[in-house]
Symmetry: C2
Subunit: 485 residues, 2 copies
Amino acid sequence: MTRKAAIIGGGVIGGGWTARFVLNGWDVAVFDPAPGAEKNVAIMLANARLAVPALSDVPMPPEGRVTFAATMAEALEGAEYVQESVSERLELKHRVYAQMQQANPDVLIGSSTSGFKAGDLQKGAVNPASIIVAHPFTPVYLLPLCEISASPANPPEVIARTVAIARDIGMFPLVMRKEIDAFIGSRFLEAVWREALWMLKDGVATTEEIDDAIRMSFGLRWAQMGLFENYRIAGGEAGMRHFMAQFGPALKWPWTKLTDVPEFNDALVDLVAGQSDAQSGHIPIRDLERQRDQNLVGILRALKDRNVGAGRVLREHDARRAVAFHDAEPSGAPLVMAQMQVLPGWIDYNGHMTESRYYFANSETVDAFLRLIGAGMDYVAAGQSYYSAETHIRHLGEAKLGDRLTCTLQVISADEKRFRSFVQIMKGDECLATVEQLCLHVDMGTGKTCAASPEVWGNLSRIAGAHAVLPVPEGAGRAVGQKRD
Amino acid sequence: MTRKAAIIGGGVIGGGWTARFVLNGWDVAVFDPAPGAEKNVAIMLANARLAVPALSDVPMPPEGRVTFAATMAEALEGAEYVQESVSERLELKHRVYAQMQQANPDVLIGSSTSGFKAGDLQKGAVNPASIIVAHPFTPVYLLPLCEISASPANPPEVIARTVAIARDIGMFPLVMRKEIDAFIGSRFLEAVWREALWMLKDGVATTEEIDDAIRMSFGLRWAQMGLFENYRIAGGEAGMRHFMAQFGPALKWPWTKLTDVPEFNDALVDLVAGQSDAQSGHIPIRDLERQRDQNLVGILRALKDRNVGAGRVLREHDARRAVAFHDAEPSGAPLVMAQMQVLPGWIDYNGHMTESRYYFANSETVDAFLRLIGAGMDYVAAGQSYYSAETHIRHLGEAKLGDRLTCTLQVISADEKRFRSFVQIMKGDECLATVEQLCLHVDMGTGKTCAASPEVWGNLSRIAGAHAVLPVPEGAGRAVGQKRD
């Protein structure tokens, strides 16, 4: 049965949660009486649909349903989890929790608060035990971190359930060891924000210069390894101890102005907002959002290639969802082996999917097929593999940014040492490209072809037998430039 | 003539500078009497050779020469620029500058200091005007930021020369508006470092949890847009002003402990170093360095695909270096159209370059060829382009991580509406793959083939004529699985 979450508050955070739940197959009921909430959630969901599937190497689950509830009670109906994302006003949050627990005193409530402790949130509640902090980062549908912070009133099973739900929707749940205001992330953000405001106020740098300084230097380091791992490396062979000995004394130097808080007045707001307008006021926020998301997709994909940090979270999320996909029984039809979405980085200067990505789509398809017949990673690790020897690609149509592609594979011929595959890359009913490929089974020790293992050959021959009833596809067996028959 | 830089100090920073200069074609003389400096520079250079060429889409310039000088004067001989990277002790820096200016009073000296102002560095110098701050970030050969900070004693031409040199070696020079300690980057790093030490000391989080919190959340945001651009987006349609109104009040809350400095004693060092050892003490620093570099290459490539932030810097650096490359006169030999290095992300689970990357290499080669004949971006923007219709790839050998590939293109046949190309992907003298491709000249408005412009056809036919003397390559005109003749 489809799981259901209630999202209370439909702003940037609530909308982001909605998109994350829905694209991970949960039904969502949103409650937010503010005008514009429904439009905002729709925008977030549209953004997320452009970006999130581009991170997945397994088919996305069927999208959940979004409904907008007229009352809190309606939103909570049948929901096993509530994510509260209302404004950061404690008395408002208390009021909202009271309404929720009147409707359902036992429902698990995660709060998006970036600052309040769970203990503060729970004050005066009918059931404090089921209120916990689950703090995400914008854009919620792309960034994996979910800081989970409990008070002594929360029993272990409440923490465990919150962790499990965060993981189910592809997040990285980080359970705080102690209750502190603002947890980890927001404390760093506040420290940097204060220092940045001082720099602006003192005329040391503009908003654009500060952004450039960050994204041309430590921003790149932090995206992949965080703080300490990078410093450990900077310490060289001697490691962290050496780094601290070098850096330690500077701790006492009065570099930063963090002992004071700049006065928050209209002049400061005008200064910052004015510079920010000059920097990017000419770009609509919706465009900036999509640019940011496309950049994040690119970075996340690079990390996924390397199985590092947020990329490892994506891989683990795929692995959990992949189980059901490769159980197909062979039949007299080409196998649907891969689905993908055309990413921003796949587009060439003609605005079309660049040609090498068709070959990439074929590789993904054949790799999935190899896993299906038992010639995946473990098989390779044991010393045998299939190598592609020769490939013929025909380009018949064009894919554009965001198109969803389905790749089918037909086995044209097979014996114990080789098989010939014919992949069709489809956009809906339209075939965009065909890829014919000869793969040889190789002993990686000797580098020579050899017979596949009985298990692999058994699986392969079973499918080849089922595909023998299919006609040889139009376009198979051609040379480049050969006239059509 | 090859330009020459002197690098004073051969640690992580000096070694990083050496690698950046040398891979950008400068000769470098290193002076560092410390034992181990020569080995350290060699390691940095080896790391850089694995990573930096993977970011370039034009051939790298011939590598400069590295020499180790016995004296400061010898290092400075013939150098137009000196990068000082000795320890952060002001009296040591003053002594080093005195020695330099005795050898050559006019040489331009950039300091890698992360904290001292140019005015402090210049005190007591024979020629203060030629000493300036040029502050990089580790790894210097990959991260583009170079903070340039001058004092009133530096004339504008000294600043301009420093900027020009930083740009020549592919950096992003950011000239500070005012002299402040620690410039921009290190001030943020200090703020975050202090807060992180408090969290460790208070037992709120471990080094690993802090690293995860950063790299799963705002680290990903900052790598591409920095601080303010992201907050502008978070403010929604109402922009920065709205964001500040929301976030402003929190400024006064006592979240961070930045008003104090934790006492820097052995217990703190033991705590941090111990946790860091537990986190990654099992991985040798050299491995961590390469992992970090590979991750950075992946992120930088993703940003380069999107022409954003550090990726834009890489594109501009390519553009400056590309000019000379496409001036080849057609001759009776295949054209060398592309060079590339096998990146970490190109490797499949067999440990070989993944097959779609051969097609990618072909695309890069054909794209360079199209630019050569005048059918590049501007031509496409005007409404015509070449589309690839059909491709045949033969895999004859294997490429591994770090291999350098050279791609040649031979025109097999051409008329006004199409050409057939034959690309060989070479590792040294070994042909790893051949790619035969038919490209059609298309009017992008109608989607139909049409004749190329007189200029493009003139260039293409000139090269096709020169290539007519070449034999048809072995392997051209084949279908998949066809027996060899």
